[in-house]
């Protein structure tokens, strides 16, 4: 049992940290988020050059073999810098799914350009009426000769505007939120019948609602076996949660730190407001929520590779914790900064917004509380 990082992991952290410091100070970040595209292709290329896009993948696939822990380290540092580039959808959600379940031919075709930074991916699983349940799928893929025809609408696809490829969940049989009958497909976003409505999200990111109208897919678009896509999708979402937890603790750390520093220097009634016990205790409560979130972030990243039941339980527990903690720390950070906390000019409001957005990504507190409750401890 140990919670220490290896030397390689520490080097990785240092590298990402200095990248964020050098290229992702608050002004640069805001310039990127406010630009028309909302991400920097230059940064993305640099991520590829630094090996960040290769970090979690197995060495046999051209990766660096870092797995979930390296991913967590990267996302934590990205969280501190409020990085907008689509590391989570491309590398963690889609890349991970391809690595674990795609055919050799699919891997050969798609992983090298993904790792090389040439192609960006997004996971199109949620629908206007699915809320957070990945089993609730109305999009259909009907067999058509050797291939399929895809019809439906996917909502709030994070990183969708930038994506070259999508992984889309669709019903190939069954209906409603039946567990069986969901299949996963690789879809070229430039294919005929794919239409995206792009927009900005509350945290400075970008997403898209993407419709599919009679989109023709070859047999080689199917990932894994027919009708059995849901367990693969749930697994990918749990890996996504593990990475999102990393980003979340990075953001919480910065929001909390900024608040403590502010309260040490802001004077009212002739003293630093940080000398007031009511504010001190609120900052301690923020700190405890942060530490508890770190604990479950480590926990989920250590357990994400275990059996499906333990993995789901770990991921849901962690997502509940970071959801609650993110909300408390975000709200408190704004509040303790007083009027300044409301200002768009100050970074703290942007951490608050990112932490708020994280709760609505990959399942909210309530969704995961229910999922946790219905899981059984191993």
């Amino acid at each position: 049992m140990d919670f220490d990082f290896t030397e390689e992991q520490t080097l990785l952290r240092n590298m990402v940290q200095s990248f964020v410091q050098d290229n992702y100070d608050f002004d640069s970040r805001m310039a990127i988020a406010r630009s028309e595209t909302g991400m920097s292709r230059d940064n993305w290329s640099q991520f590829a050059e630094l090996g960040l896009l290769a970090a979690p993948f197995d060495e046999s696939l051209g990766g660096l073999g870092g797995g979930a822990i390296d991913t967590m380290i990267i996302t934590e540092e990205f969280g501190k810098g409020l990085v907008t580039e689509p590391f989570l959808p491309t590398v963690v959600l889609c890349g991970g799914l391809l690595e674990r379940h795609a055919s050799d031919a699919q891997k050969d075709a798609h992983l090298p350009p993904l790792i090389g930074g040439e192609k960006i991916w997004a996971l199109a699983y949620s629908e206007p009426k699915s809320r957070f349940n990945p089993a609730n799928v109305q999009t259909t893929a009907k067999q058509d000769g050797d291939g399929f025809v895809l019809n439906g609408l996917k909502s709030v696809v994070n990183g969708g505007p930038w994506a070259d490829y999508l992984i889309v969940s669709a019903r190939t049989s069954g209906e409603g939120w039946q567990q069986e009958g969901i299949s996963l497909f690789i879809v070229d976003k430039s294919a005929d019948g794919v239409a995206a409505q792009d927009y900005e999200t509350i945290d400075g990111g970008r997403a898209a609602d993407i419709s599919f109208e009679n989109v023709k897919l070859g047999a080689d678009a199917l990932i894994g076996s027919l009708d059995n896509g849901l367990p693969l999708l749930e697994e990918a979402l749990d890996y996504g949660i593990a990475a999102l937890c990393g980003e979340s603790i990075g953001g919480m750390h910065k929001a909390h730190q900024a608040t403590v520093e502010y309260c040490k220097t802001r004077n009212q009634f002739g003293v630093a407001i940080g000398s007031f016990q009511a504010l001190q205790h609120r900052m301690v409560d923020m700190f405890m929520e942060y530490e508890q979130s770190v604990s479950l972030t480590y926990m989920v990243n250590m357990h994400v590779g275990s059996d499906a039941a333990s993995r789901a339980r770990a991921a849901s527990a962690a997502k509940v914790q970071i959801g609650k903690a993110g909300r408390y720390i975000g709200q408190s950070a704004v509040h303790l900064h007083g009027g300044m906390g409301m200002s768009e000019e100050l970074n703290v409001g942007h951490y608050f917004k990112r932490l708020t957005a994280i709760d609505a990504q990959l399942g909210s507190i309530d969704y995961h509380l229910k999922r946790f409750a219905s899981s059984e401890a191993a």
């Binding site: 049992m1 220490d4 509380l369």
Partner: protein
């Protein structure tokens, strides 16, 4: 980073489990009392002492088992799973390390083996009526008279002093400019003339704590630990040790398990309470908090194993640990429903009660009442927050 126990550690866990199964006193495992006698505590203490396991954190040279941090964690975990009585902390956890660190050789040789064997039952003479969280304001006075100190004062909230042979006591030996100065650490024989122990019955009806009145109690000067006037440093050292295991994670896990069992047995409109979505949500939130605390404790232990001692961060363990301990008793009381109302008899009360309702309901409310103490003792949770604010956040 990994959370796997080694094969040796798993074998050790099995050894501990088997030992408890074979040796935990039968009359204790069959007991459903909320309160335990001196002999109850001692019977388990002696079994562990004979095995050499009664003081897991003591170094081997003083009779400890020489366990790693992980082994200690496993031992605590298995004891909690088996729902054993605890080994009372006053001698083993609190005083033992103080003596190893500050006492002279004669004191060590005399007192340490008697702590291990259970021959001496210790209590802690810290709090006074006017000195709770502000411990340094204590007034109990010890005046030197030849080879003796003459002690006068009034201690309060002294846990299980009614059974104690000895008390380690903070006394004022000098008035100085700062309240922290002039405090000394004295070992007092509870059989000395001038000591009176009066029970305090707490809201749960139990007799756990006491007032101790000291009137012209004569204490041999050789019972002073460390230097005269250096008691505050010892007090702080002791409080640092007290935090070890204060999170109570393993015990709370066990209590959550009980809560779930009760929730399966209790019915709401014919369905198990545990299927009630509102109640299920409360249990899940508690479980997630506890899981987070478990990993926070493991992180602290791992840091400790790597030689980075527990810092002020360990105050988190106290705050979150006690909040969870309180919450679980609250939910158990809620879960048993109307059978939370009957009062159950305390040990030696002489009262003749009819026990009604399911076994698991007995004492549920009393436990809930009793656990309110946890956020108050060992430095209130507000004092712990002050500690984190000052020493971790630098406020």
């Amino acid at each position: 980073m990994n959370f796997d126990f080694s094969p040796e550690e798993n074998a050790f866990r099995e050894e501990v489990r088997q030992f408890i199964a074979d040796n935990y006193p039968k009359h204790l495992s069959e007991s459903r009392r909320a309160e335990f006698s001196k002999e109850d505590f001692l019977s388990w203490h002696r079994v562990l002492a004979e095995k050499g396991w009664v003081a897991p954190h003591w170094p081997e040279e003083y009779g400890g088992p020489g366990w790693s941090v992980t082994q200690r964690y496993i031992f605590d975990d298995e004891c909690a799973k088996a729902n054993t009585l605890i080994v009372l902390p006053f001698g083993v956890t609190m005083l033992g390390p103080v003596l190893m660190h500050y006492a002279n050789d004669a004191q060590k040789a005399h007192y340490l083996p008697r702590i291990l064997s259970g021959e001496d039952w210790w209590c802690q003479g810290y709090s006074e009526p006017g000195s709770g969280s502000d411990l340094a304001s204590l007034k109990t006075k010890a005046e030197r008279d030849g080879d003796e100190y003459v002690v006068n004062g009034h201690k309060i909230w002294t846990t299980l002093a009614q059974h104690a042979d000895w008390m380690f006591c903070l006394v004022r030996t000098a008035q100085e400019d700062k309240p922290q100065k002039g405090i000394s650490f004295l070992l007092i024989d509870m059989n000395s003339p001038g000591i009176e122990v009066r029970p305090i019955i707490t809201i749960d009806g139990s007799h756990e704590v006491n007032e101790v009145f000291l009137t012209d109690v004569r204490v041999p000067a050789e019972n002073l630990v460390g230097e005269e006037g250096n008691g505050w440093g010892i007090a702080k050292f002791l409080l640092g040790n007290e935090r070890t295991g204060i999170a109570g994670v393993a015990r709370s896990k066990n209590a959550v398990k009980r809560l779930k069992e009760i929730s399966c047995a209790e019915l709401v409109d014919g369905e198990p309470l545990i299927e009630d979505s509102d109640f299920k949500k409360k249990i899940s939130e508690l479980e997630i908090d506890l899981l987070a605390l478990e990993y926070t404790e493991l992180r602290t232990l791992a840091a400790e194993s790597a030689g980075r001692g527990p810092g002020a961060e360990s105050s988190i363990l106290k705050i979150k640990g006690t909040e969870i301990q309180q919450k679980v008793t609250e939910l158990i009381m809620e879960a048993v429903g109307t059978y939370s109302l009957p009062k159950i008899p305390m040990l030696d009360s002489g009262a003749n009660y009819n026990l009604v309702g399911p076994d698991y309901s007995h004492g549920a409310s009393q436990n809930y009442f009793n656990m309110r103490k946890t956020a108050i003792y060992g430095g209130t949770n507000e004092v712990q927050r002050n500690i984190i604010a000052k020493f971790v956040l630098g406020l």
